[in-house]
Subunit: 242 residues, 2 copies
């Protein structure tokens, strides 16, 4: 259910009443309060937090398998909040790297939740020992729309974009592409087998979010991940104060 | 905004009050009423309606380019409701095949709407001449969660699934995979270049939705589309009555 429909009678035959607007405003307002509390908790413990977003199947979990191994070998104490509608498939894949993993299954209502919000992440934090972490990676639900609307309290958002998704998605999903600090351009190993125009994608990104660097990677082969790990390590300290 | 969060205090620190539940129930209730009205309009005009859903970039629009050409050559009078958050990129790609195309941009609020609902489709129908159509194809917003929650009034829902998304998505997004009558397994031309296990995907689908046939296609090369077009034509008459 997506009540922001209701503010835009242009698209909808629904009645738009003050009751709905007030519900909507309260939910976003409460999310922002919870997000600031999460960020304050990260800052109080010196934990950097990064929110990973993408379409379904773009490669977030495969990337995290490499990244958790790298962090372990580098002595960085990492945690993961793993958001999925159902199953522990992804959380299971991330076990065994010495990271604390908190699984959030969002799917016990209606169609399954389509994003993580700050109160859900707050709940996950109660199962993690922030005092023993340096870095917390939040793997959001695979979705190019809803996750970008909810501040979960992370210091940065990162997008994993698979080149199999085409060149035009930054134009079609601009809120998501504007919300991130960096884009990992994934599945580069498939480039020879696709019609994907990398320069056109770069131009589309530059139009929507010229400040976000693009890092070309293959989570499958590991190519390019050193640059991503460098990005992760260069701003280890929380960048926002509580 | 996704108020169904609010019914599940287990995941959320939000307050769950009767006001929110009532807003939620009314929105779903109004959507169902609008969906039945859309279906009645399709039935009254003898129009079959099919709702296409997928992740972003799975190939719905590329598929439709082939399908609209096929329908034109077969003498089937087709229309398209094209749902996108922003831009007319997809609608522009579908011009020139003799089909009526209605563009619905959902993105003038918050993060951009993440699905089509029945009132939006009803609005699109006011711009189409149903009396001169045999088949209406609704291209939903690319998203594996939210579109499955909203009946738009189509007779069938169809999923376009790209094998680049991995084998496990039926288990992770079961509401979507259960909601469809057929799954087009797309990007089969990439199979030699992926680690994708087709038999594992088939087993996962059989677990979630054993009744939905899987049709292997490549929207890029056109391979396999004859079987999809056969599926479309075999139940040309509306399958539900109003």
């Amino acid at each position: 259910m997506h009540a922001h429909d209701q503010e835009h009678g242009d698209h909808s035959a629904y009645e738009t009443g003050p009751e709905r607007i007030s519900v909507l405003e309260r939910i976003f307002g409460e999310n922002d309060v919870a997000a600031e509390a999460n960020r304050a908790a990260f800052d109080a413990h010196g934990v950097r937090s990064v929110n990973l977003m993408s379409s379904p199947g773009a490669g977030k979990t495969t990337l995290l398998v490499h990244t958790l191994a790298h962090l372990r070998d580098s002595g960085v104490r990492a945690g993961v909040v793993e958001g999925d509608i159902e199953t522990s498939i992804d959380a299971d894949r991330l076990a065994g790297f010495g990271a604390q993993v908190a699984l959030l299954n969002t799917g016990d209502g209606f169609g399954g939740e389509c994003h993580l919000d700050a109160p859900m992440v707050a709940k996950a934090l109660t199962t993690l020992d922030l005092a023993s972490l340096d870095l917390l990676l939040v793997e959001n639900v695979g979705n190019l729309v809803c996750p970008a609307e909810f501040d979960v309290g992370a210091h940065d958002s990162v997008m994993v974009y698979a080149i199999t998704e085409g060149e035009e998605k930054p134009l079609k999903y601009p809120v998501m592409f504007r919300s991130v600090s960096v884009v990992l351009v994934n599945k580069m190993d498939l480039l020879p087998h696709l019609d994907f125009d990398l320069e056109l994608f770069r131009r589309n990104m530059a139009q929507i979010n010229p400040d976000a660097p693009l890092i070309e990677v293959s989570a499958r082969t590991g190519d390019g991940l050193a640059e991503w790990h460098e990005w992760l390590s260069t701003s280890r300290e929380p960048v926002r104060s509580a």
